[in-house]
């Protein structure tokens, strides 16, 4: 999911920063409008960002290998508009501390992970349309779907960007094959992310529904 430095042309990097800048500006505007005192949201957003940052370093088994989580779907579900600054900060820290995803690719990666997180938030919001008796299984199913979709959309965007801008020409068939390979490689990750997100959502519904924007018990 994280595109490293040096692969995409500088024009794509610049476009990524422009896109990320616009989304960040929009999200900060929405945050300022939604919260009477945006400062009050800073500790919560920061602590949850730190949780996501650490949790994304956890390896989960996808036999025969293991992958580390991205958690973009879960971030969208829990943080809403705060997911954008959180993802930006998380990616920056990953670039600074581990060289995980490149510095020049910060904007591109923020779009690839951040926009699907907002999409996941909207998908998960569909649970409000469900009848009360389906609330629990419906939330779990939508959490799975939201998070799977976030990975799929992000991976598709990453694959398209890489394959279409790689320097030197591949023929069309090879391009399509490479895109599909990259996408297929992300299916197990999407499933695991979906399962983890659904399980966390079920956990939060029982323990602290306030984190899902639902009234506390």
């Amino acid at each position: 999911m994280h595109i490293p430095d040096g692969i995409l042309p500088v024009s794509v990097a610049a476009a990524g920063f422009a896109g990320a800048g616009a989304v960040t500006w929009l999200s900060l505007r929405r945050i300022e409008r939604t919260y009477p005192d945006p400062r009050a949201g800073v500790p919560r957003a920061s602590l949850l960002t730190a949780v996501f940052f650490m949790a994304s370093l956890v390896h989960v088994p996808v036999p025969p290998a293991s992958v580390h989580l991205v958690l973009s779907g879960l971030m969208g579900v829990v943080l809403g508009w705060f997911a954008i600054p959180a993802i930006l900060v998380g990616l920056f820290l990953q670039a600074v501390m581990f060289q995980h995803g490149g510095l020049t690719m910060l904007g591109v990666n923020a779009c690839i992970i951040g926009l699907p997180a907002l999409l996941a938030n909207r998908v998960f919001a569909l649970r409000r349309l469900l009848p009360a008796r389906l609330a629990t299984p419906g939330s779990a199913a939508l959490a799975f779907l939201a998070s799977f979709a976030a990975i799929a959309v992000g991976a598709a965007a990453a694959a398209l960007l890489i394959v279409s801008t790689v320097p030197a020409h591949l023929d069309a068939a090879a391009e399509r094959a490479a895109t599909f390979t990259l996408l297929a490689a992300h299916v197990p990750l999407g499933v695991i992310e979906g399962v983890v997100t659904a399980l966390v959502v079920l956990f939060l519904r029982r323990v602290d529904p306030g984190l899902l924007g639902e009234p506390r018990r």
Binding site: V10, A13, P43, A50, P61, G90, L93, G101, H169
Partner: protein, 252 residues
Amino acid sequence: MIARANPEAVRESSLTRWETRAKLIGLLCLVFAFASVRDTRLLAPMVLLSLAVFGLSALPARHLLSRLKVPGVFLVALAVVLPLFSGETVLAEAGPVALRLEGTLAFLSVAARFFSIVTLATVLFGTTPMPTLVRAMRSLGLPALLGDILLFTYRYIFQLAEDLHRARVAARLRGARFGSIRSVSTTAHIIGSLLVRSNWQAERVLAAMLLRGYGSARSLEVRRAPVARDVAALALCLALAAVFVLSPALIG
């Protein structure tokens, strides 16, 4: 792992003494100039320049190597794909496998850019403590909300690294096996627990911060104003960046 990636304890060098805002702008301009390099004649000067900057930083070589490792995997994949499948001019052939010139050049170009950018980024972050960096970014126009989230997240990462580690150790001592598929639910429970605890902790943290006047006029001033040497180093970086961007057009 987290503690060692922390760039707080670095050896004094000309790069640690460089004023942070000038360093940030100068090195970032070089990084983006490198990202734009397409002319293969510029690859060697680019790599040499990065190595020279790294030498000035007095950072240990293994620090750089460890940071090249993670994204390096991606590069290895390209090393297989590009030289073998891209281009028409065949350099060498062994049965159905052919090494192609265009692909090989494309790969070398990606690898050189990758190496140079990662090296400069390593120097920038390795010689600047995070709080100083964020303060410099704030004074260059980073929105306050983003700066605050960045600093606090950085602060709590270390606590959460320990919490997460202890939670996993405690679960393992009660028989959880993290290699197995069943452990996914344990992992989800741990993430959920950390989210819940952090959400409640955030309320206490906010209360403690407000009691100490958080939000009342606070200056995040940069401690040191740039001097002539800082500006000269910045100018040098900008000039070098311009050379890398413009020279292909000039020399044709």
